[in-house]
Symmetry: C2
Subunit: 458 residues, 2 copies
């Protein structure tokens, strides 16, 4: 006679088509959080998820308004007070879709090709949110859920979660939990289950350089004014030295060094130069001298140019000296860097290096610290055994280059460690055209989460 | 009894309102040559000018199609074979209007405020074209035109005149002339009539830097790929040294040095640091070490960034490593630089300085040499006396920083020197928002051209 977890897993397998259709319905909603014109779509996505949680049997479903996009809460607390409570975090908002012309199928027309589901948000992270709900759906239709669960689903992760910390602070009792599950991580490869134990933080800025009072004719005035686009390039070029080190004053002062143990753990991961060449399609790998690619992407801070804009950019030619030039600049932070300190370091760099021929304005957009989780905690072990049961091998423990500020918030505000995992793959093209989700891996992930909930209760 | 030229000038004064209305009608046509969507507007502008030349009494009016926008030809050859023939060059196309939100009144709704006529093309150069026609209009309504004139009006100057040289080559007999009048220059100030005796050339490029095969998540991949926006900035920053010299290999090899005589002539011009600060609104003047501002803007070559584009540029934040970055880069050339040589120098610079972590593509958009005109020729002297008659002071002779490739073409193909002048002012905002034409100066210009035609015949 099969045990209850096997019955739940069989239920999930029998309802794969429904799970996929429900995910496609959610993915068809263009819930881009950064675009004002998608405000109603964000509401529609929140409503859809709330209704779906209700249909799954969850309780206390509430759509909490915030100063920005709403937060969806639900819970199911029937396992008893002696069983652990898991707070499942997710976000239902997605990144913008530009450059739109590079999508093979429209980003909000979910399309299956070759075992992959193509749509904006398929991997990051509507697919992960729905996998979590689907695992619970399978259990509550076949058994009593063996742990208590709470859902906290926000709509502003892709714009830096500006209202999440306040919400958590104001709802500490509602959100009280023994641990958090955050499936916004990802896997190293489809055959390598992955648990993330450190995350980089983020500091994001917009830098504007101003020169002449208005655009000038480059023939009449070329040679006597400092071109703001050139000045911006000169400032940006100076932010790294020839060895890939970041030159902001004091930038590395508080960086937690990589220990010999970290070095060995990271060396075990199959993420080396050939891996990154294949994943990125770049002509060659680049990085900070003295560190391996896995260390550069996970354990060292970085400074990236996320956007550039100045002057005439349409097809053709226009002989203009632009009045201004803009760059979006962001840093990935490691323990124990602080986003506000990095802001001051960037200001100091600009003060020290900006010529008097231009003036500049710096705006801090978002920021949050790096953080790390205990690999030996019961929750991590419960997920580790669940992943091993499905994939047949124990998971690897990875340092993640991306940032999930909510992990730090839950540590600080709820004293809850997050188990960061997920079933997205490195080539899912998250934040890029043709984002997709590998469906066989996603379905394995649902099975692994069913194991996780049973393991956690036993 | 007044002489004929006085009668013609009086006629021009009496018909100022009509001349202004006719100019406004032409300015209302958005004949932007670089934009595909304005193709019909370009045709409309050509048709309007052809009809207007016919109304003025010109003959052999023809709209010649080209591979791009049409060329309007007309002539009036009744002065006799012993009188000089002047080929009047102009262009009826205009620059794009972005950034559109900085215009105080719509660019194609010509509006008079404080003696200035605001519209795209008012100064560059529909106003100058109409001033030339108006001067002839005044003479032919009051006298027999004392010289032979031909009009050559193109619609592609702002995109580098890609079809003009072929047209001139194929119509050498039609365009045969003793000298050319090119009113696409400009004045140093409203009280300083100006004749331009050298012009800088132009070489315009689009540089694209490619990194990863597609946009990447800056957290997941930040630190292991060379950000193309950063790489582009590094390449651009290296194109000038700390003294404002351009670092392309061999860039100055063929540059005609500034002679002591040139130095003195340029020092006479009232275009110094305070002048350029007032004209540009820049925080401080910049330039090549060892040269005055007038020399930097007129007698030395420059390299400008005309545009930058990469990654995410909308409001908000997106944590992306862009797949590519683009810059529009143009050089102003002096005698005896060659645009194709400069192209090779830029290629060599990129080959020598591009890291293997990116690849690049360079497209040459337009190019033409610098050129100069004899200050003692009869035509220059005829205009000089005309300008002095109206303004009361002799004109200054200026080295122009801008490029008028047709001046070189007419020297090479028609053996005709061009007299480059015009009645635009430095703060007319050509190629920028709120372009305008100073109407009192424009009306004086019409008078000066009437003098010019009479002086040339005598």
């Amino acid at each position: 006679m099969p045990d209850q977890r096997s019955i739940a897993i069989q239920f999930a397998h029998d309802h794969q088509d429904r799970f996929l259709e429900e995910l496609k319905t959610l993915l068809a909603i263009p819930s881009i959080s950064t675009a004002a014109e998608n405000r109603e779509d964000i509401q529609a996505a929140a409503t859809y998820i709330a209704n779906h949680l209700r249909a799954t049997g969850m309780e206390h479903i509430t759509i909490y308004p915030t100063n920005g996009h709403p937060i969806v809460y639900a819970d199911y607390l029937k396992a008893g007070r002696n069983k652990p409570t898991v707070l499942i975090y997710g976000h239902y908002d997605v990144q913008p879709v530009d450059p739109i012309d590079l999508w093979q199928t429209p980003p909000f027309l979910p399309t299956v090709r070759d075992n992959n589901l193509y749509a904006r948000g398929a991997s990051d992270m509507k697919g992960q949110v729905m996998a979590s709900i689907d695992a619970i759906d399978a259990i509550v239709h076949t058994d009593v859920l063996p742990v208590n669960v709470k859902f906290l689903l926000e709509g502003e992760e892709e714009i830096g979660s500006p209202n999440l910390d306040a919400f958590i602070s104001e709802h500490k009792a509602l959100l009280a939990c023994d641990l958090a599950l955050n499936p916004d991580g990802g896997m190293i490869a489809a055959n390598i289950p992955t648990i993330i134990y450190t995350l980089r933080g983020l500091a994001y800025f917009e830098l504007r350089v101003y020169g002449p009072a208005h655009d000038l004719h480059s023939g009449v005035f070329g040679g006597v004014v400092h071109n703001p686009a050139q000045a911006l390039c000169e400032l940006i070029a100076g932010m790294h030295d020839a060895y890939g080190h970041i030159t902001l004053p004091g930038f590395y002062d508080h960086v937690l060094p990589i220990t010999p143990e970290d070095h060995l753990e990271l060396a075990r991961l199959p993420i080396d130069e050939p891996y990154y060449l294949a994943q990125t399609g770049a002509p060659a790998i680049w990085g900070e001298a003295g560190y391996t690619p896995a260390e550069c992407a996970g354990a060292r801070p970085t400074l990236e140019i996320n956007g550039l804009l100045s002057g005439f950019t349409a097809p053709g030619s226009k002989t203009v000296i632009p009045a201004w030039a803009m760059a979006k600049i962001s840093m990935r932070l490691v323990p124990h860097q602080d986003a506000n300190e990095v802001h001051q370091q960037l200001v100091q760099y600009l003060e020290e290096h900006s010529p008097k021929t231009i003036r500049w304005e710096l705006t801090q957009m978002t920021g949050g610290p790096a953080c790390s989780t205990d690999r030996d905690s019961p929750g991590v072990q419960a997920l580790s055994r669940g992943l091993e049961a499905v994939w047949g091998i124990p998971p690897v423990f990875k340092r993640e280059g991306g940032s999930i500020p909510v992990v730090a918030s839950m540590q600080q505000l709820l004293k809850a460690d997050s188990i960061v995992t997920g079933f997205g793959l490195p080539d899912d093209n998250i934040h890029a055209p043709n984002e997709h989700l590998h469906l066989p891996t996603w379905q394995r992930g649902i099975d692994a989460l069913i194991h996780f909930f049973y393991n956690l209760a036993s």
